[in-house]
Amino acid sequence: MSTKKIIHGIYNDEEMLKSGAIKLRAARVRVKEVFSPFPIHGIDPIIGIERTWISICAFIYGLTGMSLALLMTWYMMVSDWPTDIGGKPSFAFYMALPAFIPVTFESTVFCAGHGMAITFFLRSWILPGVTPKNPDPRTTDNMFLMEIEAKPEDESRIVAMLKESGAAEVNVI
């Protein structure tokens, strides 16, 4: 049984939310999450989100795709059944390498792209049949919501700060 309270500060304007978040962070209050209809420029450092690792993941997926394609073409065209197409040498892999570059490129892009998308869906848990984490459907339309997890004794202080920073609505759950 959690003793923590969830506080939702709902704003009409993303700039108000940003300035509110800066004040809350200055007062050592942790902002758990922000829900918004569109990406808010510069919100990540304000609410203390670390830089994403997805670009590093993409690089690794790309390397995987490249290696797989090179392995596949080497095995099929050179090792298992050397194939001579248009008189191109197939005694060694490097001799016919230019012909395999387009496939390698496609495979690299395919693996990097799909890997990134799947990683994003898993990490954000956006999957078929999953209950949305979004606490208020209005944040898909015109409202901006800031979610704060706080101890019961801090509740009134945080509610006051949210209201002061221009929140249109503050709900405690």
């Binding site: 670009s55 248009g86 191109k88 230019p98 012909a99 570059i101």
Partner: protein
Amino acid sequence: MDTSGMNLNYTLSKKTKNICLALIAAGLVITIFGIVKHDQSPVQIQRIWSNIWVNIFFFFSISLGATFFFALQYAAEAAWAVAFKRIMEAVMKFLPVGAALVFIYCLLGVLHVHHTWKWLDVNASLNDVGLRNKSAFLNPAMFLGMTFVFLSVYVIYQRWACKSSLDADAGGDGVSIWKKNQRNSAIFLVIFGFTSVVAFWFWLMSIDAHWFSTLFGWYVFAGLWVGAIIVFNLLALHLKSKGQIEFLNDSHQHDMGKWMFAISFLWTYLWFAQFMLIWYANIPEEVTYYQSRWDDYRGLLWTMFFINFAIPMVMLMSRDAKRNRTFIFIVGVIILFFHWVDIFIMVMPGTVGAFGHIGLMEIGMFLASVGSFAWFVLNQLSKAPLLVKNHPYLGETLHFHI
């Protein structure tokens, strides 16, 4: 960002000027040494001319690429590039000089002073079915006429664009000047898109007159685009090192770095697409181009291709690297030289066969050209404030953040 306290006037310092002069002097000495080292047979004389053409075309193409990129920013309504506008203009102002040199070189070719374009020799053309069939296009009148008309159009647009920028500074109506610029840039881009390809057929592809490639124009175009981007980056770094353009922030730098990364890939893609199809199809009339490069320039060809592809890819892939001035500088200097080598490999095999290689003469002429080009561009940079006035996107560019 408040720009009132900034020093927006670049002055060419004595030290920078001396570096340029030293490059020119050292280059000339090395060139002369390289020339007298060889016998003065016709092929060695032609080697000197071919080198002149490589350098004229390379630096002309950088200013042409700058003009194209400048027009692109207007057509795309890009705000971030406004911070680079005066840097672009400084590079663009080399265009009239470069165009004049290109035209003079072409004229000398028609007058048989040098033999860069062998099809200009009437006897060779008459006895050669391949050339005779192309003579409706490959003839001296077409060659000089199209060169002159295309160059004039580029120079007219460039001069108008640079002048309108100063008009806005002098208190003109920024919005209406911007709108005229956008219209003219769009027109220029369409004209440039069609004419540049034809021009590159004449200037470079017809050196190997029997050979043709429909991709060639785009491939040269990608090369000159990346050349221009590198020069913008290096000029920005030079100004930063003088503490001059504080308004150019990390985000601007990041975007220019992205261009360097991206256009290197465009160039690689087009180079490889051209090579791979010709290599795979193995049709005699197409494969001659790569056969002569394969026989006599193999090491240089693959080094050039690999470096122009792998160095930007590996060193500029991460976000931090594109914001790191050391990385941008190292990559920029290396691939600028190897794009020059790219032009070198386009010109040499068709003009001097196996006699072309990067020796003292080539290095010397390259250094002298770099010195002259840098001196010219930096001198132009000192003639106007580094930040434009009365530009509708000025506020947006000063607050640019990604």
